[in-house]
Symmetry: D2
Subunit: 290 residues, 4 copies
């Protein structure tokens, strides 16, 4: 398929490469053009403007946050440049509120909005191991499926209302953060009781907690391997803020999300912007005098 | 082996049956004798007193809490009735402090203390699917291994100091409770955002959270199936109290454990002693107006 | 003095009346004109537009929230209608961020921005018992002093940077909310222990806690008198959100603010928009099964 | 009156001195006899044993904690040495549970138990500025009133059931701790927003928060004057534990008490046993990177 592709960041780059490898044609735009140029050897065309990339039948955006996506999708001629019936697939972790706003803006512009969030760190993106969770008009979601198949190991279409995918993503990221926090607390207790967290982790992830999240983050936390960051503290904080904003809008108290936010705030206050968000467990350990 | 067996509760009954089925000889004591009698058909001898059961080479206790174990092990002639070199295997979820006290009392009495905690609900006990985590003098732990093999699917000996097994168990139970709390919060957010928690759970436990704890408790919580209880609110509360007591003794703040405790306290204050401890998620939902 | 006055709400009305009673000339604008008309008998002129009220030397705004103030001050010709050197006195509880933005916008427009927040409920406003905390250029703050004196019992100028007054106000409101939450928790403990919170309150506020906040809110909470609202749940929630937004921007974890926010969210989720924000203590009591 | 006096600690010493100064006869026992000897010049008799002090008509105990009081009152011949109808006045901050136990033990021993807790730091004790809150049989409480008058500025008898005074004391200490925590959070926000907490404190305690607790602890916290300790971290922690134990027994979630406990645990984990309990605000500041 012909795909406009906007946003070549840490996730965007491997995703674009996998789309190209699967035979799709990409016209790529990135604000810092040199990042887009990295894809030229993989066969991508490089767009000089948002408008140029917006001319394709399907346009994917992989931008850093609400602000960046808002700027591109609502602050440029993006919407007016889309062909009638063209599909905008947003893959960013954004607020439910912005997703709602974009759904409405596309309806007015007679284009189609699909929200397709991804779970997985950059290494998973490279390995085509992402989980893609999409929501949008069924026809449009189906038309995009080959793209999702090219970048991930599993695709789930969960409904026709795009913001559902964003709420899903936020709930999922919260679950990950909560697991990290819990591991941090359990490990602090074990360490101060003279036990080895690694042994605990090995047994738990061999049985009751035999899940990728516990294995991957548990190892990072047990070994205190917070650098280089797969997903840095400010990004983690951004996501937890989105979780809490969605919870606030829906009048849902989420006390564990508060705990996670506070520990990430402390990480940030201590200048750990470069560490992985799993370093919230380092704050937990420090609070125990470790 | 000849095994004294004290405590025929919801976990004790299936565990004793599996020991008998594996060919071990049991002399069983239970305060309410009729519970012990349930094992007569399986070939157990019934003891009329703690002292009688304490005469075996290995004596297992499966009592409800610190209080019950303290009463039997320190408040009767239990210790003095043990043969020199006999092994007391405590399988209860008790405090690290009592485990330490028993370790010392056995050292004085020239008997051996092994702490062997189990993970798994009564149905897992019936199915010989328990995870046994033991700590104690290596020789003694090895001698007990056939017993552990008879009742569970996996045995791990994590060290020579018995209280280590209790700290391990508390950290593990905390991790389970924290997962339930997190699921409860995520589901509340999803439900109030118009999404189906069951679908979310299915996708998450098919990928990042593909672990028994998330599958089992996630299903209970998504379906609000809190009765009959596999592990009731007061028992959950007891365990979280032990976690917080161990954390306090080790100067470890555990904010997520606080959240869990508070939600179980509310469950109790609302008269839900009969519900499963996963019903803490019901409190989370109620706090969101659900 | 000649004063433009924009925003005749629950606080604006008594404040305007006191300004008029002190001999100041007011030209009043309110979106719903009938509210402004209430002041005609007190001698106010009624403005037909924001622009009309903005022609005075000093223009006071008393608007509901960030959104309302932003709309008036940045979304109309307000700034361009101000005379060079005119003073805009904002008395609303708004975000530190908007206060910063207005400071900069006024600097560009060659007008002067003073942030002057008030502590006190509507009854205190009527009785000229407000505490006014102002920040802005010293000359401008001094020029406004007669106005502050006319509406409150105490005026404090805390600095030259307007957003300081907003941070001060948010910290102060947090302290009030935290006191209510604490009283709620203490009362729940006392009630469930068979003690009378009113007696406790009487003794405490006669000694260690002999302060208006404890007396006023303590009485409301002990008597569960949450209606009519002096300051309703949604307004309380708005303020706590501003506190947490300021804390987030400054990387400051505020766990007690989280607790307050969560209890107000539950109040809102239970449909208590009409109750006073002190009804967060009702949620605390309910969590204890009361 | 003739008073047996057991426990000459930081509070006991000035209290005993004030009793002696008011003309009462004291026979004083302290485990470390040299502490008791400090009172000889003030006219006290020195007892060689608990039993000796227990012979008076009224026996006051001012012991450090549950353990110390339990040891004296239940672990010695204390009860049997009391004359029939003698009054035991316990002034320690102890658990509601132990107070209940002592009430029952005294009933059996045909002696009378009065629980009379005190609010105030050692300096307040020296200055006869304590608040005494007593509960016990009305006759007995009245008989003790001259003693209370000799040591404090205000006496309140709140009921006939002794444990009520202990629950009152715990609720009161919680309120103090919560105020310190709240001040700590507000100050952290102000400091990181470039404001001076001292100025904020001055204005707030001159108006809405014009109460001794806010003035005294606010000053300690604003000036970070945590040493020498009026009431050290381990004592604060002990009291918060008692609050949470009483709350747990009554099924009352107290999330702010959890926050306080966690911050005191961190203070302790960082080796600050010598600092005042108001140093929990130091932990709050550190969490904000200050």
């Amino acid at each position: 398929m012909e795909v406009g592709f906007i946003g070549v960041g840490r996730m965007g780059l491997p995703i674009a490469r996998n789309l190209l490898a699967a035979g799709h044609s990409l016209i790529v735009y990135n604000r810092t053009r040199s990042r887009a140029e990295l894809l030229r050897d993989n066969g991508a065309l490089i767009a000089g403007s948002v408008a140029e990339a917006a001319g394709a039948e399907i346009v994917m955006t992989l931008l850093a946050d609400d602000h960046a996506l808002e700027e591109v999708a609502l602050g440029t001629d993006f919407l007016s440049r889309l062909k009638r019936g063209a599909i905008h697939v947003s893959m960013s972790t954004i607020s439910v509120a912005l997703s709602r706003q974009l759904t409405e803006a596309h309806a007015k512009a007679e284009s189609v909005f699909v929200s397709a969030v991804v779970f997985g760190r950059p290494t998973a993106a490279e390995a085509r191991q992402l989980l893609v969770v999409a929501a949008g008009p069924p026809d449009a979601a189906e038309r995009c499926r080959p793209l999702f198949t090219a970048i991930g190991s599993r695709t789930e279409v969960i409904g026709s209302d795009p913001p559902a995918a964003n709420a899903f993503k936020l709930a999922g990221n919260f679950l990950i953060a909560a697991a990290m926090e819990s591991l941090g607390e359990a490990f602090a207790l074990l360490r101060k009781s003279g036990l080895d967290p690694a042994r605990f982790l090995e047994i738990m992830t061999g049985t009751l907690f035999a899940a990728p999240v516990y294995k991957i983050y548990g190892k990072l936390i047990a070994e205190e391997q917070f650098s280089p960051a797969g997903f840095a503290v400010p990004l983690g904080l951004k996501d937890v803020r989105l979780v809490l904003a969605a919870a606030d809008a829906a009048s849902v108290p989420m006390p564990v999300a508060n705990v996670v936010r506070d520990h990430l705030l402390t990480a940030q206050a201590r200048g750990r912007q470069e560490l992985d968000w799993s370093s919230l467990a380092k704050v937990v350990a420090e609070n125990a005098g470790l």
